[in-house]
Amino acid sequence: MARRPSITIEEAQKVPVNLGPFSDVTTSLVVMFMLSIPFLVESGIFITRSLAAKTPQMMQQAKKSDIKVNLYLRADGTVILNKEPVDPAQLPDLIPRLLARSIEKKAILTADAEVVYESVIDYIDMLKANGASDVLIMKRKAATAAETPEAPE
């Protein structure tokens, strides 16, 4: 078998380097990075008009308004929609129909403190995706049943 002739360092330095593939890879990396920016960078969901920290009085006010969606997430995983337990899978069908009856299209979301944050975000996302203009975050007082008017009777 013929042995490849060895070349000196000086000769190797004179060999023209093809930078084409390198520039292709770099360009692809930059393009991929630019395309993935929306999935890397954090964005946000507004909860500006939240009613957090308010209790029965604000609940009563909310009742008088045209809010037709009142969602309560319990720590045990039960989902209560307008005082009725519902299957979470049915919500994407029910929410748009309820919101259609509302002028302001606001929804109230209440959750027990023990509920996992990701799950609450999923429900806020679902409400907004189904047409809720605002999701009002309510805080429940863990104290008495009298202070939890949305709880199932």
Binding site: Q13, K14, P16, V17, L19, F22, T26, L29, V30, F33, I37, P38, F39, L40, V41, E42, S43, G44, I45, F46, I47, T48, S50, A52, A53, A111, D112, A113, E114, V115, V116, Y117, E118, S119, V120, I121, D122, I124, D125, K128, A129, I137, K139
Partner: protein, 148 residues
């Protein structure tokens, strides 16, 4: 007698381009690796929940982070108690209005609550309450856009 032209060798272009290319790749890798920290004004690393609906681009905001152990961070500063948030946020909002030269803008700087997806909702509610006590009018929960 004609003078023999002396050939002057220029610098080898590949010898210049190779280190440059290496540096470019390193810079690119650093930017990609730190993209999140660059855009969020904080270095607290969290697993942010994902959502389809995106309403706010986070610019010039005050980041409040809650890690998976329920520890609160104001920007990069670790807090011992959630109650420490209120005076800090209020001071920043005042500074924001002063810099803008309009006192009516106090409370309008966006506050972003960045919670790890595994924490309890109660921790986030406490942060919302603390921020609301500082009379913030623009509060946002940080999410990352879902793929697909």
């Amino acid at each position: 007698m004609p003078m023999k032209e002396e050939k002057v060798e220029g610098p080898d272009i590949s010898a210049v381009l190779f280190p440059l290319a290496g540096v470019m790749i390193l810079v690119l890798a650093t930017i990609i690796g730190n993209a999140q920290a660059l855009f969020t004004n904080t270095s607290v690393q969290l697993e942010i929940p994902k959502a389809n609906v995106i309403e706010a681009d986070l610019e010039q905001m005050i980041p409040i982070s809650i890690d998976r152990n329920g520890v609160y961070y104001y920007k990069d500063e670790k807090l011992n108690d959630v109650k420490e948030l209120t005076p800090k946020v209020a001071a920043d909002q005042k500074k924001y209005a002063e810099e803008a030269g309009d006192p009516e803008l106090e409370g309008f700087q966006m506050v972003v609550i960045r919670g790890d997806k595994s924490i309890q909702w109660g921790s986030v509610l406490e942060a919302i309450d603390a921020v609301k006590r500082a009379k913030c009018k623009r509060v946002v929960l940080a999410v990352i856009k879902k793929r697909g």
